[in-house]
């Protein structure tokens, strides 16, 4: 048989240049100006969140009662608040709060959502119905109500227990009530954030499990676990990345909203939300106290949303053409 030479000349010619899927997507992302701007802002904010405390000239807690409510100046870029604390330093530290909360909450929500959604879509039947019932129920409870209830019912007993432990052991760890704040914020926000991921992944899996390459994988005798992990989940990941990017922005807004309402991160730990809440009370006299955190929150939200849209186009080349 002289097949090989024939193929060499006839089929290699129409091969596309070898570029990997992800590199392809990366190139498409870089061509999208808004997405690149979004990505730049996100990277900048992430940098600030990580290295912020070493970049600011002041500590976010240091009060200078001689320099209260100052307007922005070279010494205090965003001015000072009613306790004479540097607003720039507080916004920078608030970035760290926002990122920590957003990343932890989104990570928990994605793990729960992907696991439940993928199994529901793949196995179907009773398991699917139970998961979807759970999802719908969680989504039908107003977010704020759930968070307020969780805070109200858990915060006091936990804080009291910590205080009792401190009295008994004198271990300073139990004095750090800020961890209670964070745990409650993480827990309650994760609880309300996973259902959209579960729905998205389930819908993806339902459409992917009927595709020919999944039938082909089954015809190879591969196990369900292998098919789910290597054939279905990786193909569902594009829309998930998009939704995670948007979800990080949403989580930041949510954290700010809860902190604004006093059920999130509590002062003195800076959060954009509780800074906006403080600033709102005096905005007629000291607008910079409101403007600085609000502007950064807005910037972050817009950046994540642009990045999400850009990723959507980049990862779905067929959809964008």
């Amino acid at each position: 048989m002289t097949i090989t030479p024939v193929i060499l000349s006839s089929t290699v010619a129409d091969d596309e240049p070898p570029v990997s899927l992800w590199r392809d997507a990366w190139h498409r992302l870089l061509r999208n100006k808004l997405a690149v701007a979004g990505l730049a802002v996100v990277i900048l904010l992430a940098f600030v969140a990580v290295f912020g405390p070493w970049l600011t000239p002041y500590d976010f807690l240091t009060q200078d009662l001689n320099a209260r409510n100052q307007a922005p100046s070279l010494a205090h870029l965003f001015g000072t608040d009613d306790l004479g604390r540097d607003v720039f330093s507080r916004v920078v530290y608030g970035t760290r709060t926002a990122f920590v909360v957003a990343i932890v909450v989104t990570a928990i929500a994605v793990v729960i959502g992907v696991a439940l959604g993928a199994m529901a879509g793949f196995f179907g039947g009773m398991f699917d119905r139970i998961v979807m019932w759970f999802t719908d129920m969680t989504m039908s409870v107003p977010n704020l109500l759930l968070v307020v209830v969780i805070n109200a019912s858990l915060k006091t007993p936990i804080t009291a227990w910590m205080e009792a432990r401190y009295q008994a052991t004198l271990n300073p760890f139990y004095r750090e009530t800020i961890w209670v704040d964070f745990l409650l914020v993480f827990g309650s926000m994760a609880l309300i954030s996973w259902p959209p991921y579960a729905r998205l992944v389930r819908a993806q899996v339902l459409s992917i499990r009927g595709r020919p390459y999944v039938t082909a994988a089954r015809a190879l005798g591969l196990t369900n676990r292998l098919i789910l992990m290597r054939y279905i989940v990786p193909n569902a990941i594009g829309p998930l990345i998009v939704s995670v990017s948007a979800g990080l922005g949403t989580a930041m807004v949510l954290e700010s909203a809860f902190s604004f309402l006093g059920v999130g991160v509590n002062p003195p730990t800076p959060s954009w939300g509780n800074m906006i809440s403080d600033g709102l009370r005096v905005w007629q006299h000291y607008p910079h106290l409101l403007a600085a955190p609000a502007a950064v929150l807005g910037l972050a939200t817009v950046a994540f949303s642009f990045l999400g849209d850009g990723l959507n186009d980049a990862l779905n080349p067929r959809g964008s053409k």
Binding site: I3, T4, S10, V12, L220
Partner: protein, 336 residues
């Protein structure tokens, strides 16, 4: 026939009936198919689109879609009934003993996995190979199916390959674990005419080298004339004629087969549509006629055709040739 008469066939499908749930209740799609494939034999399964070829093959490894199931019948493979074996035994058959090549190479490969990984997976799973050994075998397989530069190609993603190349990769995956039977479901339908012939030649070559049995499904009888030993003609979920390939071309007896052969385009008129000489369309599931399923389209139909279902019976005066048609049976008897 290639297989000696006393030898049990590798695959022996009997009375396979498949039904689908519709709003009006269950409807039969595949109606009592009988099909045998001997060891080392290549069988072509021919029929119009929608006649149940793919479902028949998927049912053998129990991969029917939702709402479609086997109602009755047996499918013995190497002496074991595929339709009754345990899940774990079945998983050893899938990929390990029966390899599949599907119709559309564009969608039958996992787009986010390198082809090397897709080739290695069944080797690691069925043959307990180490990653390094599987990789070496994968390169060897790619070379076997005529892919140039297999050491580099193994790193490629499916979208980096042309359609013909992808189908070669699919064949390599189907062959990975040295299956005793390769089922190719219209493997060339999605490809250019020149590439089609290359794939046919490739399988012809491989089947001899690897001494395996092949079932090649197609709606294009001309394409496989030089490849198969025997042909089973399917119409509306039943085998209407079954004969050695030369016998079938020399003496087609069923009116449907004759129509198929008459509609093979001559070299001069390639654009002629394939089934132009047979008017009408096959019956929909749930709307099967009472007698012969081909009766509504058959020029030779008599009153008995609308009353009773013809069964597949040996044709007088020839060996290994069977047909399910009252009129053809009578004509051949008279001729003999």
């Amino acid at each position: 026939m290639t297989a000696p008469a006393d030898n049990k066939p590798l695959l022996d499908v009997r009375g396979l009936t498949i039904e689908i749930d519709t709003r009006r209740g269950p409807a039969v799609i595949v109606d009592g198919i009988n099909l045998t494939v001997g060891k080392g034999e290549t069988v072509g399964v021919v029929g119009e689109s929608g006649c149940g070829k793919s479902l028949t093959m998927l049912s053998l490894v129990r991969l029917l879609p939702n709402k479609i199931r086997v109602k009755s019948g047996t499918a013995e493979f190497a002496g074991r009934d595929l339709l009754k074996m345990s899940k774990s035994e079945l998983r050893q058959v899938r990929g390990g003993k029966i390899g599949f090549v599907f119709q559309d190479p564009m969608t039958s490969l996992n787009p986010v996995m390198r082809i090397g990984d897709q080739l290695c997976e069944p080797l690691i799973y069925h043959r307990n190979m180490s990653k390094a050994d599987a990789r070496e075998r994968a390169i060897e397989l790619l070379r076997l199916v005529g892919i140039p530069g297999p050491e580099q190609r193994i790193e490629a993603y499916p979208h980096e390959l042309s359609g013909g190349m992808r189908q070669r990769v699919m064949i390599a995956i189907g062959l990975a674990c040295d299956p005793e039977l390769l089922i190719a479901d219209e493997p060339t339908t999605a490809l250019d005419v020149t590439i089609q012939a290359q794939i046919v030649d490739l399988v012809k070559d491989l089947r001899k080298k690897l001494n395996m049995s092949v079932v090649w499904i197609t709606h294009d009888l001309a394409l496989i004339a030089g490849l198969v030993d025997r042909v089973a003609v399917l119409y509306a979920g039943t085998v209407v004629e079954d004969a050695p390939v030369n016998e079938l071309f020399a003496r087609p007896t069923h009116p449907y087969t004759r129509g198929l052969l008459a509609s093979i385009p001559k070299l001069s008129d390639e654009r002629a549509s394939r089934l132009s000489s047979i008017g009408g369309t096959p019956p929909e599931p749930g709307r099967r006629p009472k007698g012969c399923p081909f009766a509504p389209r058959c020029a030779l139909a008599e009153s008995v055709c609308h009353e009773r279902v013809p069964v597949l019976e040996p044709v007088a005066g020839s060996t290994g040739h069977r047909v399910a048609c009252f009129v053809a049976q009578r004509q051949m008897m008279e001729a003999a």
